[in-house]
Each structure stands twice: as structure tokens, then as C-alpha cells.
Amino acid sequence: MPIWMLLAVFFALLILTGLTVYQSQFDLGNAEIWLSLTIATVKAALVILFFMHLLWDKPLNAIVILGSLIFVALFLGFTLMDAEGYRENLIYKSTVKASQPGAKGDEIDN
């Protein structure tokens, strides 16, 4: 890999880091996490494709690493989906809301 390319990738990474720090100063609400994750993903892609030479590597290796991300997504996806579903039942939430049916009769003797 020619030196200019190494340096170009490095400076692109630095600029993106600056960008992500800069954007974090604005309150963008929910969009913020997605924006910073997108920037991180672009950076990660640069590292993988150029520094790790995946662009020139055998396709099998690319399949291997990208395949693993699918399994990570499965793992996170199902677990989060479930956590979202039972959130209402968590005791500290339901105590706060007090609208939770049934929770009322369960006060502890005090």
C-alpha cells in the first residue's frame, strides 16, 4: 500500500474523529446516537478496508468477518427485543408509575 494512501486514510480518520466530537456538542436528541454510530462505522470501515487490507484480501475473509457481525446483530437484536418487552414489569419502573395493576396490593410491611 503506497504511503500516500496510508496517510490519506489516517487523516480521514482524524477528521472523522473531530467531526464526531464536534457533533456531540449539539443536542440532536435520538438522532445523535445514530449519527455518531454512523461516523464510527465509516471509520471502522476505513480501518478494515485499508489498514487491514480487506479490500485486497480473499473474499472468504470478508465473508468471515461480516458474517460474525450478523451473529452479533442476532444476539443484540433478540436480547434487546425481549428486554424492551418486559420493561414494564421491572419493579423500579412499576413502582414509579403506580398505574401498574396489581402492584398496589404488594406493599411491603413497614
Partner: protein
Amino acid sequence: MSVADRPIVSPASGEGAAYPEHHFLNHTSGFLSWALTLDHKRIGLMYLVGVMSSFALGGMFALMIRLHLWNFKDGWLSNQTYNQVFTLHGAIMVFLFIIPSIPAALGNFLLPIMLGTKDVAFPRLNLGSFYLWVTGLVLFLTALSITGLDTGWTFYTPYSIETQKGGAVLAATFGVFVLGFSSIFTGLNFIVTINTMRPPGMTWFRMPLFLWATYATSIIQVLATPVLGITVLLLSAERLLGIGIFDPKLNGDPVTFQHFFWFYSHPAVYIMILPAMGIISELMSVHCHKGIFGYRMIAYSSVAIALFGFLVWGHHMFTSGMADVTTIVFSALTFTVSIPSAIKVFNWLGTMYQGTVSLNTPMLYALAFIFLFTIGGLTGLPLGALALDMHMHDTYFVVAHFHYVMMGGTLVAFLGGLFHWWPKMTGKMFNDNVGMISAAIVFVGFNLTFLPQFVLGTRGMPRRYATYLEEFQDLHRLSTIGSLTLGIGLLVALLVLLHSLFYGRRAPTNPWGGATLEWVCSSPPPHDNFATAPTVGDPYDFNGIEYDAKQGGYVKKA
């Protein structure tokens, strides 16, 4: 006619197959030549000794459990001891025996030979994983001896955070961590070997089905086991630093632990059963002397099982209060795994059809496998059906179900494979008649042990109970009698094998008539397996493989 009945021609007399004067067993000698060996065959044999010893230990605990449950109360162990015993039984059997049994012991020995290479891709890593396994064993024994682990093999939080057996939990979780990496490196090694080292002619669809199964297993090992690693690491941190991620007292969530744990441990079930299915595919075709029925379907179904296996972990948690949507999705996905398993059973039967069935020890074990695994698989159906699982979850029905799959499946296949490749590994023939008796005793004992447990389970007997209601006592006693029978059967099998080491006759190159590459190199194989890359043909082409009385085994006739 079994092999033992055939006329024996001693190769020593100068006739018959060339018994190799020089092979991997006597290639070098001395303790260090084994302890530092990079030869996959020796590493496989060391694993074999290791996993069999662990199995003996785990089996001892199993008998302790069964004997304790002879009476419905006042068994000979205290509740506390009983809890430790069943925990260690589970943990040792799962982490030290079943997971490494077929891939690490038989797989290590066979994979390079079946593939036609000299060794696995990373021989040193291979030795490294063996020593990681040994470290894991030592840590487990430490957990056993310091206080006795009592969390159940699943380490469910918050019990594992609260229990007084803190040292034991730490030792055991660290042991699991280390064993996990042992398993990862084995899988990694196998994937690389199969991907990059196939000799000319060995295309994907000329690989023996055992290799397909091992490959599928390795994928799971590499993808799922790291999650177990981080899970037990977080659990150790929970104990040491009180990080609270799984601790409800600190607002952590114990169900999260279950998600983490089962993301590994369900696919781990397929780490256990897939290689067993691979062995059965080999055994069925070789001992029926007939090409395997539906080769591609079996190969694809192995990979399908491995991948679907990642989607179903939630079925261990149906009653834990998961969200309804998640529960239903997991139930639906669970059933997808049953189809490829069913396909395999049908294919094995198809292989027998119009073949030439040799009834010998490995074949009897293979047939026992089909019987037991079918029961194990079918009893998974009521457990996958949500409404029924509400009743059956955490009862003896589940206990019986997974013993049918793991023990009736994996262990029986492991024994079948062990008998099948024993002549290749040691160069000695065992007494086939006594071997068949052992298979019969194991079969009867196994069913006697676990069939009653299905009934116990549907009637509501919860698992992990040290004492129980009197009404369950008869069935429990039946099960205990069965377990003793099973123990005797296994002991007979062990004695047959040990006997052969000292008194067995020398094994021919191809005692069963197999067509895969391991039956081309001598028994035992030479140090480098193949001096030059072997000619690779169809692994299930039995044309012209004929019994040759002179050699005492099969030879390929043109």
C-alpha cells in the same frame, strides 16, 4: 458374521497386510514425546484419555444422584451435598466431557487423515488447546475440592452471586472460560484445515460427512463460545467487584444473564450432537457397505442445524417471563431445527435399505443411536410447543429429553465411533462379541433409566430435587436400577477396549470395509499419515471393496 468370527491371519506370520513396523505410536518415545507432541493423532489420544476420565468422574456423580433418590426422603446425602453433586455432574459432563469428546478426541485424530493431510493447520495451537483443557480440568477439580460448587451447571444469577461457595464459583467460571478457549481454538484449527488444506481432488462434496459435521460444529465453536467467555468473565467480575449487571439488587437483570448464557449454551447443544450425527453417517454407510443415502441433504442439514441453532436459545427461558412476542418467535424458530434432524434419521434408514448390514459393535451402537436419538428428538416437540412447555419446563421430562439427546445421542455415538476407529487408533482388534453385549446392556440400561423420567416429568416432578413426594418413588427406583445397569454396560465397554490393548489381535488396514481415507493408511497410521498426497475418490464408493481373508480385512479390488 462379525469380524471376530472370521479366520484370523496373523500378519506376524508373514502373510497378509503389512502391519507397520513404524507408526505414530512408536515414532518417538518417552513422556516428553507425548507431552510436547505436535502430532494431531497423539493429541487426539491424549484428549481421549482425558475426556474418558472426566466422563468416569461425571458418571460417578450421576450414580450418586440416582442412589440418593432411591428413597423419597432421607437419602444418604444432605441437601447441600446433593446440590453440589448434581452441579458437578452437569458441569463436568457438559464442559469437560461432551463438548470436547467427539471434536477434540475423535475429530483431532481423524480430521487430517480423513481429509488426506499430514496434520491440522496449526499443530502448536492444537497442543495449546489441549493444555487449556487440562487447565480447565484442574480449575474444575479445584472448584470441587475447595468448597463444592452448588449453582447448577448453568450458574444462574443471582444465586451464583449470592452463594457462599464464592471461591468455587470463581474457580469454576474461570475453568469454563479457559475450556471455552480450548474449544474455540480447536474449532478454529479445524475450519482453517478444512478450508485451506484439502488435497487435490478433495472437493467440498467429496468430504466424508463426519468432516461436514465437524466443520459445522467448528463454526458454532468459533461464533458462540466467545459469548460464553464474556458471560463467565462478567459473572466473575460480578462476584469480585459487584458490577451489578446481572444482580437485581443493583438493578441488574438476571434474565439478561440467561440470554447471554443460552446464546452460547443452546448452540453448544449442537456442538455436542452434530459431530455425533457425523459419526453415525460414517458408521451407517461403512457397516451397511453402501453409499450414504442423500449425501447432500445430510451435508446441508448439518450446516442448517448449526446456523438455525443460533436462533433458538430463548426456548430455555419460556417460563422466565420473557416478553410474549419474543417467546412466540423463539418457539417458531425452535421447530425449524427439528426438520434437518428428522431428515438425517430418514437418510440413515435409507442407507440401510438394500445394503449389506454387518452387525457388529459399532453398528449396534449406531442403531441404538437412531432409536434413542429419535426418542430424544421427538420429545423435543412437546417442549417446543409453548402451552405444553409451561407445564413441562424444569421437570424431569426435560431431564429425560436432554439425556436422550446428549447421552443417548452423543455418548452412544461417541462409543460407536470409538469402537469403529479403535483398530485404526491403536492397531488392535477388540472382542466384538463382548462389545455387542456391552451395546445391548447400555441400550437397555439407558432406556430403563430415562423412560420413567418422562412420566415423572409430565406428572410434575421438578428437577434438581433432593427429596420428593412419595408418589414418585416407584418411578425413581426404576430409574435408579436402570442407571446401575447402564453403569455396568459402560464398564463392560471399557473393559473390552482395555482388554484389546493387551490381548487384541493386530488390526488390518481396513477392518470394516470403509472407503474414506483413514482406511487407506495403515493401522495405526504412520507419523505423517501420508507420505504423498493420497488419491481422493468418492468417500462412499463401496464398489470393489471386498473382504480378503488373507489380510483379515477389506481390500479394494479393481
